[in-house]
């Protein structure tokens, strides 16, 4: 796991314009990949925060990551455990995560069990012990897990006002001691309006997990965060061997540099198709290649990437249907040496087909790969496979997330070619079963057409946002060179777009192809 870097603190407020200087609130890294960005830079220093959610939602792991990320010998973190998970088990399980730094336990990160005190003494004694421990250690971070248990136990003995007073005094002490604190509890959201704790804390972070059909969908929401702008909404989280990882709804793409205003045309690797596209795809466009099975969508995608590699543009192929060896074999058949580019590190084939992926995890994997190789071209083959790889609960978010990713990446000048399988119905020309034209700048439609007793292939450029394009329906074949456009447009047929054209010109005698039927030669 990459070590989460400490987020730089806010820049000091300017004193120009005669305004008094604002206080600088430093932001502490949470140690959770993606979370700092959701929080607007990290957790505000000296803030009192609450992490709530049902058991198993990842609360304890999150606060461990925060504690480990910020614990130092000079300002240790103290993890107070209160009648929750047994510490011995907690340490046993948490050390399985890569963020668990055993060297920090004991000195920089101290675990203190308050259970006996909570059971036997009153809130004053508990507060006294917390004050004593925090002061003695000069702690910079405090975690109380489970705070709800502490309050619940106390509430059974003393009144609500006493509990509120305890929280108030605790908050005052922690702030005055320059401590950033997280209280952990199995709260439910319905408690928020009536529970004064939620008013007193500076930040409230909610973790949920919902089972949908056979998969679990985990989400994080920032319900409250004083002093800084966080990204609103529900963010996907996952728990892996590296601990919790959060995926911002913006996918971190709101800060990518904008594409140049003057965009060059990129070859797709098929000269005649480039001509149909008015000279090639505009850099930073999103191209959709739609067609039924066997029409050469993946071949075209491979040529698009290979052409980029020839031009010195690194590429990523995110593939969801075929396995990488099939891809490289096909490319080899076309004389395109993808394997060499992979070895050089200018191409990555991402095979993303494990079940139950979240759309954000998948997109993060693509974004990571783009950063790794400095990709300028991206292939997503195919959108249908992409959607099928997702957990059912995430499919509803698919279009929205795809929209965000494609919008941000193309905005940064990365050219994307996505494929989508559509069924030809021989009555009309569909582009996709998705309403995804809003995702694409350009659409190339491939389809089968019955001509002269053969099922041939045609392509047409349906849409090109950046300029004019050919209106011709052109026949193409797949040869040893890949997709090759043949023949000028046919003027001896009408209704080619239906797949069952009507002859309008004279019929020419044609010899049968010899079996076994080969792929047509150009």
């Amino acid at each position: 796991m990459k070590k989460p870097r400490k987020t730089a603190g806010s820049a000091p407020a300017e004193t120009s314009h005669g305004k008094p200087a604002k206080v600088t609130i430093r932001k502490l890294s949470t140690g959770v990949r993606g979370l700092d960005e959701i929080l607007g830079g990290g957790l505000p220093e000296f803030s009192l925060n609450l992490v709530g959610g049902a058991p198993g939602s990842g609360k304890t792991t999150l606060v461990h990551q925060f504690a480990f990320a910020n614990a130092t010998p000079e300002r240790p973190a103290i993890y107070f455990t209160i009648l929750g998970e047994s510490v011995i088990k907690m340490l046993r399980y948490q050390q399985q995560f890569s963020f668990f730094d055993e060297a920090k336990v004991g000195k920089s990160l101290r675990f203190i069990n308050l259970s006996d005190l909570v059971l036997e003494k009153d809130l004053d004694a508990v507060l006294e012990e917390i004050i004593a421990q925090v002061t003695a250690a000069n702690a910079g971070v405090v975690v109380m897990d489970s705070f709800r248990t502490l309050v619940r136990k106390a509430a059974g003995v003393v009144g609500e006002l006493e509990v509120q007073s305890f929280i108030h005094r605790l908050s005052q002490f922690l702030t005055a001691s320059e401590v950033t604190a997280i209280l952990v509890g199995e709260y439910v959201q319905e408690e928020m309006p009536d529970n004064p704790l939620f008013t007193m804390v500076d930040g409230v972070f909610w973790l949920t997990q919902v089972t949908e059909r056979n998969s679990i969908v985990r989400k994080l929401q920032v319900l409250k965060l004083r002093g800084q702008a966080s990204v609103p909404g529900l963010h996907t989280i996952s728990i892996t061997a590296d601990g919790l990882q959060a995926f911002s709804r913006t996918l971190g793409l709101d800060t990518v540099p904008a594409r140049p205003s003057r965009r060059k045309r990129l070859s797709i690797g098929v000269p005649d198709l480039d001509a149909m596209l008015g000279g090639g795809i505009l850099e930073g466009d999103s191209v959709l290649v739609a067609g039924p099975s066997g029409t050469g969508k993946s071949a075209l995608a491979t040529q698009f990437i290979a052409e980029g590699l020839c031009q010195g543009e690194a590429g990523i192929m995110a593939i969801f249907e075929e396995r990488p060896p099939s891809y490289t074999q096909r490319a080899d058949g076309f004389g395109l040496k993808l394997g060499e580019a992979e070895k050089k590190g200018t191409l990555e084939l991402l095979y993303l087909r494990p079940l139950d992926l979240s759309v954000d995890e998948t997109m993060q994997a693509i974004l990571d790969a783009i950063k790794r190789v400095g990709a300028k071209r991206l292939v997503i083959d195919s959108l249908v496979g992409f959607e099928m790889a997702l957990a059912p609960g995430f499919r509803a978010d698919f279009r929205e997330s795809l929209y965000r990713m494609i919008g941000a990446l193309t905005g940064a000048g990365i050219t994307i070619l996505s494929t989508v399988e559509v069924e030809d119905n021989f009555t009309s020309l569909q582009f996709s079963h998705y309403a995804i034209s809003f995702l694409t700048d350009d659409i190339v439609r491939l389809r089968y057409v019955e001509i002269d007793g053969q099922l041939r292939k045609t392509m047409v450029v349906i849409k090109m946002r950046g300029g004019n394009h050919s209106k011709d329906i052109r026949e193409y074949v797949i040869t040893k060179k890949g997709v090759v456009v043949i023949h000028p447009r046919r003027t001896d047929y009408a209704r080619l777009s239906t797949g069952i054209p009507k002859r309008t010109g004279p019929r020419k005698e044609q010899a049968d192809e010899k079996p076994p039927e080969s792929k047509a030669e150009a």
Partner: protein, 142 residues
């Protein structure tokens, strides 16, 4: 019964070293198990009274399988080991020492099993910073 004996020769060496060290400190007269007593506050802070009681009780059960006379010992409700004051005077000192080594080794063995050698070493080192066992993995392979 192999699974019951989590101690390794190295753990026993460490246990023996700690017990002898405590004996040299002159604390042996006050308690039958001074090394265990010194560990208790650390363990209490970590896992509370109930946790220490459960862990020590388990260590005692396991140690009794090897040294049946330890059945005379008991873990009190406050996590204190007691019940051997009289027997300690009657039993052969070498046997008594070996029993205490077995008990402490079982306690360390349980800790190693639950939280791993590194964290267990951290606990031991916090209490006995001058004692430096050569093998911090307690003779175990992770």
């Amino acid at each position: 019964m192999g699974w019951l004996n989590r101690t390794t020769p190295r753990i026993r060496d460490i246990a023996r070293t700690l017990i002898l060290f405590e004996g040299q400190r002159g604390q042996g007269g006050a308690s039958e198990f001074p090394a265990t007593d010194r560990m208790r506050p650390q363990l209490m802070r970590l896992m509370g009274n109930g946790g220490v009681h459960a862990l020590l009780s388990r260590a005692l059960v396991l140690a009794t399988l090897e040294a049946p006379w330890l059945s005379n010992a008991a873990v009190n409700s406050d996590g204190d080991l007691g019940g051997l004051h009289d027997i300690g005077a009657e039993i052969d000192p070498e046997v008594f020492l070996e029993g205490r080594v077995i008990l402490l080794a079982q306690l360390l063995g349980l800790l190693v099993t639950f939280i791993g050698p590194t964290l267990t070493w951290g606990l031991v080192h916090e209490i006995w910073p001058h004692i430096a066992p050569e093998d911090r993995d307690f003779g175990r392979e992770q």
